[in-house]
């Protein structure tokens, strides 16, 4: 697994120096200094104890801005509101209830061990670190496992209708990458139910006057004063008004940037702007190339397609994945292909996990089958997910009770009945593990800026296990941030800022200038056409499989496309009204910068790990080959100016509690 890279002469390309040497400069190393130096089981208790307190009467004098109202942002806003802080909550949707956490289907993990099947905090920690291919931070992941049980208690108390057994107790199921049943679920709508729980808690605080919500508002700039985050510039998406909001602390819980690929399972509005604007103001962007490709997505049907729809991974519990053994059979009706002419390739290659191997492995295996010409469906980009044997074993009714809504959704989109014909699935961009760099407190390197949920990088490593995103969002929002922000705010309130402070004026004017620029270019191409082209470049060269040659090509293609965008984009309408093209233009402009950094990061990391597969780094059997000696670090990128080379800061990942092993699911 690990390779040594000794005796290299200076300048020689090696996994250690990376292939991207021409594109960046090295900076000083960084490290997390907030996790207390005690055994990992005691770190969070110790940190909470060490964190300073803020007296109840002082809390309402402290202003907190939270951008995003998904599981992380909604939960944080509700909890900080309950504590009595003065919270302003922002979302681009028309209601906090619509944040994209709502679309997560499968479930949420928690180390409750209600099934008495050998689960524990340590095992959840272990599975998560292993699942992340040893590229996440031990201390953060341990805490995540530790607070997971409290999340379930909290949500049940809020009235989240989790699935129950006849005895009245909660039901569990298992998910990809694990061998215990620790996933709590609410049919196929767990994300929706958890989000509604957080949303209701948030609205309760709105009624109590501790939280003010700004819906249909988009953060377009971060205000920093003397190196500290002190507020945001937001645009009211209905009136177009550019608003200044000042605070003592800013939290970004603005989700992931998977839409850089144009086609993804993200909501159409998901974007990187809040994070990217903070990055440009000094916050490090960590591991941007870590993209999770989800194996069970409905395949693309045509070029007009705007987004991809995921089928819950829980389907892999009972569905069997196969392709025809003979490529010539790919066009046949699957029901006419006899058992012995089908290749249940996951069960064959990975006998102990079978169809429940982690997402990256399942995705890549599907791609290989399709690359070998065995892909099914019109485009040849699909494999079967077959419930015939589950229906035979459990009966149609039982399958319907478990997965009915997913089957209906599939039929609605494809026009095919999955009870009769096997479903077709193909991998799709789903989640990003990269995000703004944070320490154990979820504090970015920029003072006063905290980052939670998918927007930060810390917990999932190079790959995310199923049912762990909801867990992280709520852990960050309900349990982590309220404690760590409290510590930061104990030094506040900070000096009152005036809206006429030069740094505030500069931030506001830069937003105005940018909007004016979009509306005045008056070129020939639509924003969407640029977004689609960028997405294709990213998918082809920075998607499921990457190579040095491809990434170099991608970087130069993105630079050309970005240049063309700023000369030739066409945005109609005005600034002072609802203008969705204008909104998209700002987001795509930021994606065009992020995409380049993703490619540079991918080029530098010339190892395969998690969902990131470098063609140059594989075993003889074609499995991902990590290089722990060279790449067991977090790549945290610093922005140094337009057209300037980014600076790479490395945080070494140290594993004291879990031995780094070859990740095998065979």
């Amino acid at each position: 697994m690990t390779q040594n890279t000794q005796n290299l002469s200076p300048g020689e390309t090696s996994p250690g120096t990376g292939d991207a040497a021409d594109y960046f400069r090295h900076g000083h190393p960084i490290a997390d200094t907030k996790a207390p130096d005690v055994p990992i089981e005691r770190q969070w208790t110790q940190r909470k104890f060490d964190a300073q307190l803020v007296a109840p009467a002082n809390r309402r004098k402290l202003d907190v801005i939270i951008v995003g109202t998904g599981l992380a942002g909604g939960a944080a806003a509700a909890t900080l509101g309950e504590a009595g802080f003065n919270v302003k909550s922002f979302c681009y949707q028309d209601s906090p209830r619509r944040a994209h956490s709502i679309a997560a289907q499968g479930g949420i993990n928690a180390a409750k061990n209600y099934k008495e099947d050998g689960d524990s905090v340590y095992r959840l920690f272990y599975d998560t670190v292993k699942g992340g291919d040893y590229r996440s931070r031990e201390s953060n992941v341990y805490r995540l496992a530790e607070v997971s049980a409290n999340i379930i208690d909290q949500c049940v108390a809020q009235g989240v209708p989790f699935a129950r057994e006849y005895g009245g107790l909660l039901d569990n199921r298992s998910f990809g990458g694990v061998q215990v049943q620790r996933t709590f679920y609410a049919r196929g709508q767990t994300g929706q139910q958890l989000l509604i729980g957080a949303y209701q808690a948030l609205e309760r605080q709105v009624a109590a006057g501790t939280v003010e919500t700004f819906t249909k508002h988009e953060m377009l700039e971060l205000i920093t004063v003397e190196g500290k985050a002190r507020g945001i510039i937001a645009r009211d998406l209905v009136t177009g008004e550019i608003e200044t909001h000042l605070a003592d602390v800013v939290v970004l819980a603005s989700g992931g940037y998977g839409n850089v690929f144009y086609l993804s399972t993200n909501a159409m509005g998901c974007n990187v702007t809040a994070s990217w604007r903070a990055h440009r103001k000094g916050a490090y962007m960590a591991n941007p190339c870590y993209t999770q490709i989800h194996p069970t997505c409905i395949p693309v049907s045509g070029s007009y397609q705007s987004k991809l729809t995921l089928m819950s991974e829980s389907l892999r519990n009972d569905g069997r994945i196969w392709v025809p053994k003979n490529a010539e059979d790919a066009d046949k009706d699957p029901r006419d292909i006899p058992e012995d002419e089908r290749d249940y390739y996951l069960e064959r290659i990975y006998p102990s996990f079978g169809n429940l191997v982690p997402r990256d492995i399942a995705s890549r295996a599907a791609k290989y089958q399709c690359d070998a010409g065995k892909g099914v469906g019109k485009t040849g980009l699909g494999v079967y997910l077959d419930f015939a044997s589950a229906i035979e074993r459990l009966g149609r009714e039982a399958v319907e009770a478990k997965y009915g809504n997913l089957f209906d959704m599939y039929e609605r989109i494809t026009g095919e009945n999955p009870y009769e014909v096997p479903m077709r699935i193909y991998p799709a961009v789903h989640y990003v593990m990269g995000g703004l760099w944070v320490d154990y407190d979820l504090h970015s390197n920029l003072e006063g800026l905290f980052v939670a949920g998918e927007a930060n990088f810390s917990d999932h490593g190079a790959n995310r296990l199923g049912a762990s995103a909801l867990m992280q969002g709520l852990a960050d929002g309900y349990f982590v941030l309220p404690n760590t922000i409290r510590h930061y705010l104990a030094d506040g309130p900070f000096e009152k800022l005036d809206e006429n402070h030069p740094a505030v004026v500069e931030a506001r004017e830069s937003v105005r200038a940018r909007i004016d620029k979009f509306l005045s270019i008056n070129g020939k191409r639509t924003v969407d056409s640029y977004h689609k082209e960028l997405g294709q470049i990213m998918w082809d060269y920075c998607g499921m499989e990457r190579s040095e040659e491809g990434l170099n090509k991608a970087i130069s293609a993105i630079r050309d496309l970005r240049q063309d965008f700023w000369r030739n984009v066409k945005v109609l309408g005005a600034a002072d009204t609802l203008n969705q093209s204008l909104e998209k233009a700002g987001r795509v402009a930021d994606f065009l910068e992020l995409g380049e950094l993703m490619c540079i990061d991918a080029l530098n990391r010339s190892e395969s790990c998690g969902g990131h597969f470098r063609a140059e780094s594989q075993t003889e059997e074609g499995e991902a080959l990590r290089h722990d000696d060279d790449y067991a670090y977090v790549a945290a990128w610093e922005f140094t100016g337009d057209g300037e080379q980014p600076v790479l800061h490395m945080e070494d990942l140290e594993y004291h509690n879990i031995e780094m092993k070859n990740r095998s699911y065979k």
């Binding site: 509700a78 909890t79 949707q93 028309d94 209601s95 906090p96 209830r97 619509r98 994209h100 709502i102 679309a103 409750k112 209600y114 409290n150 208690d153 909290q154 949500c155 049940v156 108390a157 809020q158 009235g159 209708p161 989790f162 699935a163 129950r164 006849y166 009245g168 909660l170 609410a186 049919r187 139910q193 209701q200 609205e203 209905v238 399972t265 909501a267 159409m268 509005g269 045509g302 007009y304 397609q305 705007s306 987004k307 729809t309 959704m409 609605r412 989109i413 026009g415 309900y478 349990f479 639509t526 969407d528 056409s529 066409k570 109609l572 309408g573 009204t577 609802l578 203008n579 093209s581």
Partner: protein, 246 residues
């Protein structure tokens, strides 16, 4: 396939709106309804005409953002969200009329986008369980009968899209209200605030300008999540009981 579109265009809340005709030639059956509008908008921009503004986000039928009156029906002829409606539902050459939700409590913001913040206001008036973070007992401390848990879930699936209001001749939001009342009312956690919840939420409903329910039932038949009509009976029963107790 080809379609003729009649789309409501309205520049702002105050502006006068009206239907405008558009034609599309290259529509395929596998397109979702919103993807068809995307194609239209790309064409409009190329012709220097401002694109049609419409609300959408997840495009998976769950966020509740999208919602259009299609040929006079909320979310169109099938029982689903607009984003999950596909063009295979329509005939080649068909004329399709697209308008925003119609209700005084949902004022038009622009074109097909309406303001549904009244729904948030109703939740603020009691649509929650008051439990502070960290104060919760173990999840297994309170068993719930499976049939109650299932009914709570069935009614908790409301996505807040507003189709029920748009379908109702009185623009009543009783189905939305009833769904939340029933969801929390089926669970032991929701009992402590049961009376205050229904009184508060009904008051917020009336305050927002929604109409009264006369049990016509259009709401339930338009609901993409199949919230059953009997949640309104539950709402009325809870209200009656609450008014006697408080």
């Amino acid at each position: 396939m080809k379609v003729n579109l009649k789309i409501w265009r309205q520049a702002s809340r105050e502006a006068q709106g009206g239907l405008k005709d558009y034609h599309l030639d290259d529509v395929t059956e596998d397109m979702s309804f919103l993807e068809m509008l995307d194609v239209l908008n790309e064409q409009l921009i190329e012709q220097d005409e401002e694109p049609v503004e419409f609300e959408h986000d997840c495009r998976e039928g769950i966020c509740g953002s999208c919602g259009l009156m299609i040929n006079g029906l909320p979310h169109g002829p099938e029982r689903t969200t607009t984003c999950q409606l596909h063009m295979r539902t329509f005939k080649d050459g068909e004329t399709i009329t697209i308008e925003p939700w119609r209700a005084a409590a949902f004022p038009v913001v622009k074109d097909l986008v309406v303001d549904r913040s009244a729904f948030d206001a109703m939740i603020q008036a009691g649509g929650y369980v008051s439990v502070n973070t960290g104060a919760a007992p173990d999840a297994h401390a309170m068993p719930v009968r499976k049939e109650h848990a299932d009914r709570a879930f069935d009614t908790a699936t409301c996505i807040g899209c507003g189709a029920c209001v748009a379908a109702c001749p009185n623009a009543s939001a009783s189905l939305f209200l009833g769904a939340k009342i029933t969801h929390l009312g089926e669970l032991p956690q929701g009992q402590a605030e049961r009376h205050e919840r229904v009184i508060g939420m009904v008051a917020a409903h009336d305050e927002a300008g929604f109409g009264g329910c006369t049990n016509i039932g259009e709401c339930a038949s338009a609901c993409p999540k199949e919230i059953p009509l009997d949640v309104i009976s539950q709402l009325n029963k809870d209200l009656r009981t609450a008014l006697r107790h408080v």
